[in-house]
Subunit: 184 residues, 2 copies
């Protein structure tokens, strides 16, 4: 149950409309908590009806008309509560690893192209994170907030680094196997 808190966080950083939030999720928060615009609008409605956020006053509120929201004290309190509360890590799921295990059993042909594709995607993501690091985290200007944000970005960078390295390794392993024969 984290989407409302992701939205609260984003709105604390800057009051926004649904579409603006969607774009910001695509660029930033979505790196570790993605959401579609449909989810976001639905959740904004809920958060408003619960009194956690409110729409900024606008002359002509209507469908197709921009509606910006800001966080109310109750919302901030809820976010602080959630942040401090202990949470169990939720079970890990990774379809690619599962497919590889399945490939080991049915004789894996055709999975290599997809490994390569994933490698490209992870490389691109890694490059993007590195660019953000260079742009937003110069060695000076290290407020506590910056340091925490940098820490989060570091996790993203290290994760993508891991995946690129692992996929690279997996591909050489497969190339090797195809020489010997993969069928079982």
């Amino acid at each position: 149950m984290s989407l409302p808190h992701a939205i609260l966080t984003a709105l604390m950083e800057k009051p926004s409309s649904g579409l603006e939030l969607t774009r910001r999720f695509d660029r930033s928060i979505g790196y570790f908590w993605s959401a579609t615009h449909q989810q976001i609008y639905r959740e904004l409605g809920r958060l408003e009806s619960e009194g956690h956020i409110r729409a900024l006053p606008s002359d002509r509120p209507a469908r197709g008309q921009k509606r910006s929201y800001e966080v109310l004290p109750a919302g901030r309190a809820e976010l602080a509560r959630w942040t401090a509360a202990s949470q169990d890590p939720k079970p890990y799921r990774d379809a690619l690893l599962l497919r590889l295990r399945a490939a080991a059993v049915v004789g894996g042909t055709g999975i290599e192209a997809d490994l390569r594709r994933h490698l490209d995607l992870h490389r691109a993501q890694l490059a993007e994170y590195r660019a953000i690091e260079e742009r937003d985290f110069p060695p000076d200007r290290v407020t506590p907030q910056d340091r925490v944000r940098h820490l989060v970005l570091r996790a993203g960078i290290d994760l993508e680094t891991f995946w690129t390295e692992w996929l690279d390794h997996a591909l050489t392993e497969f190339a090797d196997l195809d020489g010997t024969g993969t069928a079982d």
Copy 2:
């Protein structure tokens, strides 16, 4: 849509009942595709009705009575099809990173205990993976199947290594911050 394929993979490796599958998921496949027994039973029913698996003949089939399943040719074909088909990586979600980002905004107190708890869990998981590696993957006996499985295990080990290192780093960072003052 991967649970049926996880189950097919497990049943290819060895025909099993629902409860046996549940236990095997807890120990092995569940490391990257977890499932509860309720999910597994539901899915076994579906797979059977689709003709992908069948119950092994038993004298007295009834509720409370063990029912083992084996994969039929159609099931094997479906698994091979799925394995070879290209799939987009699904968006990453991580509640802990989100919480940290929220903490940067509302002033993060109280999250450290949970970081420590997560660190312990990841350390335990890493130790478990390392034990499996030593037990199941001696340097000799390297069939193609073994090599692919080892590759998958390596991913688990490297991921847990990453998390333990990152959490360790995060905790020293936080200790440092508390000296300077975290509140915003």
